[in-house]
């Protein structure tokens, strides 16, 4: 055979990946072949691929089970690593690890986003000395991820398992998209859990996509198919710049959708009655521009990317329809990461506050609500991107602080005319101050007295009084809120500040 033919034959063999039976098995589970995934995700195919011939002397390990290279997504260069689960279940050998490390180094040098398409059983135990402990062993992959964090966007599309050490690839990414039924993350398999701690549990219960996206919060976006995961990531990246040095691309402004109810119609006057915050968000942002993160997790707080008048923004909004919009340890944790994500990549933040405060009680104290709350406040304080605080309805207690209240150096605090800012709501305050007095009042006078004190309290915290004291910078009619945000985001574009001088804070994590 002439060398051209030999070369061509080897190329074809490697391109096909593992044995046919593994392709069939994957197809049964709705899993695409790695090269098809890349073809769907990228504008074209990979533009350049390196170490295609890795381990080519061993015919059973085409490309050593991982495809790495550079391609275009939305017209911009991205670096990718994609496990091939038809090759020894996508496990990591020495060359697999070296390929991943090299593409990370390339992404750092070029300062382009790094995408991880994960579908791997973990380390090849037979290769452990070559791939595990050394300076360029698997640990270096995670070390690199930490180094890249905040420098370039890092995205994980989790199509299959990511087991044991491998579970840290998603953990260090900015965002993890998980395909329901196929994606999983776990440190020890159910078999190991049974052996070590006597626990009988299914993989889905312990480390499945639904669990991670709704309970643990390690997953961010739950999708039903690989195609849906790819669509999400293509949209997600449109809000981001290539790296921390540049600004997100502007898009053509789009008006919000058409709605029967206006914002004024939407928001109940009764501070304690619920309304759906998504409905407010949809009236403020460009139509169809919402890209939510952690929709299934800690639903009392909504976090998502959007555009207002064509510009990327990060939205953090209390959801009164869920748990009264009260902040919990999980919602504070969710907010902290989202705030860091937006700040790292020059995406301005809009806080929509309608919050009765942080949750109280033994359960949340044991879960460390104080430390998680502190983490959120710490992340929000440090932000140097434009930061806008909108008090939609109520902002009580530490809730005002967590939602970027006036003391936390927002560029502006905007209130709607029905907003209330106070240490606590009228009912709680009257009870706190007058409990003893109320107790000794004759029964028939109590309601009257409480009502009178409520009214007094409400006058005391009237939003125009707070505007008069310059606590809020502006009171905006609800139906003009989008206009006000558009103007503010436009003028704050040149914001250039440093938070403080130091090596780094000691964060309450």
């Amino acid at each position: 055979m002439a060398f051209e033919e030999q070369h061509q034959a080897m190329r074809e063999r490697i391109e096909k990946g593992g044995a046919e039976k593994y392709h069939e098995k994957n197809a049964e589970k709705g899993k695409m072949f790695v090269r098809d995934r890349l073809n769907m995700l990228l504008d074209d195919d990979l533009n350049v691929e390196d170490a295609f011939f890795a381990n080519c002397v061993d015919e059973s390990l085409p490309a050593d089970g991982v495809v790495t290279g550079l391609g275009k997504l939305n017209g911009e260069t991205v670096a990718v690593m994609a496990n091939d689960s038809t090759v020894k279940a996508g496990s990591w050998g020495a060359r697999t690890v070296e390929k991943i490390i090299r593409i990370q180094e390339t992404a750092m040098k070029l300062e382009v986003p790094m995408l991880y398409l994960v579908d791997s059983a973990g380390a090849r135990i037979t290769d452990q000395i070559e791939m595990f402990p050394n300076r360029r062993g698997a640990g270096r992959i995670f070390h690199n991820q930490v180094k890249m964090s905040g420098r370039v966007p890092q995205v994980c599309l989790l199509f299959g398992p990511s087991a044991a050490g491998g579970a840290y690839i998603p953990a260090f990414c900015d965002i993890v998209v998980m395909v329901e039924g196929n994606a999983s993350m776990y440190l020890g398999s159910p078999r190991m859990a049974e052996k070590v701690i006597g626990e009988q549990v299914s993989l889905e219960e312990m480390g499945g996509a639904k669990m991670h996206c709704s309970v643990s919060g390690v997953g961010d976006v739950l999708v039903e198919s690989e195609q849906e995961a790819i669509d999400y990531v293509q949209k997600y990246l449109t809000y981001f710049p290539q790296n921390f040095r540049t600004q997100p691309n502007e898009h053509d402004p789009v008006e919000p959708g058409q709605f029967d109810k206006t914002i004024s119609d939407l928001i109940p006057e009764n501070q304690n009655a619920p309304f759906d915050m998504y409905e407010l968000i949809n009236r403020l942002i460009d139509n169809d521009s919402f890209c939510e993160i952690k929709r299934e997790f800690a639903k009392e707080l909504i976090t998502g990317l959007a555009r207002i008048d064509g510009k990327s923004v990060g939205i953090i909004a209390n959801q009164p329809r869920q748990k009264g919009g009260v902040l919990f340890h999980d919602s504070a944790d969710k907010a902290a990461k989202f705030i860091q994500l937006c700040d790292a990549f020059n995406i301005p933040l809009v806080f929509l506050a309608d919050i009765p405060g942080f949750m109280i009680g033994t359960k949340v104290e044991r879960a460390g609500i104080i430390r998680h709350g502190a983490k959120m406040i710490s992340a929000m304080s440090e932000v140097t991107v434009p930061k806008i605080c909108v008090v939609v309805r109520k902002a009580y207690g530490a809730g005002l602080y967590a939602m970027a209240g006036p003391a936390f150096d927002p560029d502006v605090t905007i209130a709607l005319p029905t907003a209330q800012i106070a240490v606590m709501g009228p009912e709680a305050a009257v009870n706190a101050v007058y409990a003893n007095k109320i107790a000794v009042l004759p029964e028939e006078e109590r309601q009257e007295f409480i009502k009178e004190k409520h009214e007094e309290y409400k006058e005391n915290i009237d939003i125009y009084r707070l505007a008069s004291e310059m606590i809020v910078d502006d009171i905006v009619e609800p139906n003009n809120l989008r206009g006000a945000l558009t103007q503010r985001l436009d003028v704050y574009q040149s914001k250039n500040v440093q938070f403080t001088e130091r090596k780094h804070g000691v964060y309450p994590v």
Binding site: N272, P274, K323, G324, G325, V326, P356, M359, G361, G425
Partner: protein, 70 residues
Amino acid sequence: MAEVKASMAGNVWKVMISEGDSVDSSQDVVILESMKMEIPIAAEVTGTVKELKVKEEDFVNEGDVIAIIE
């Protein structure tokens, strides 16, 4: 059969359904009162109310079963 559970601890302020009612997944079955807020609890599945486990003014903990829907 699906259990509707309390999303947080609080008092049952209003019960919106009776046993035997058919409910839609987006329909609120009870409204709790907690942290001075009204907390609507949606059915989350479409079906018939087989059993209602709470009455107004009951206290419920997070995770307590409010109703069973078939």
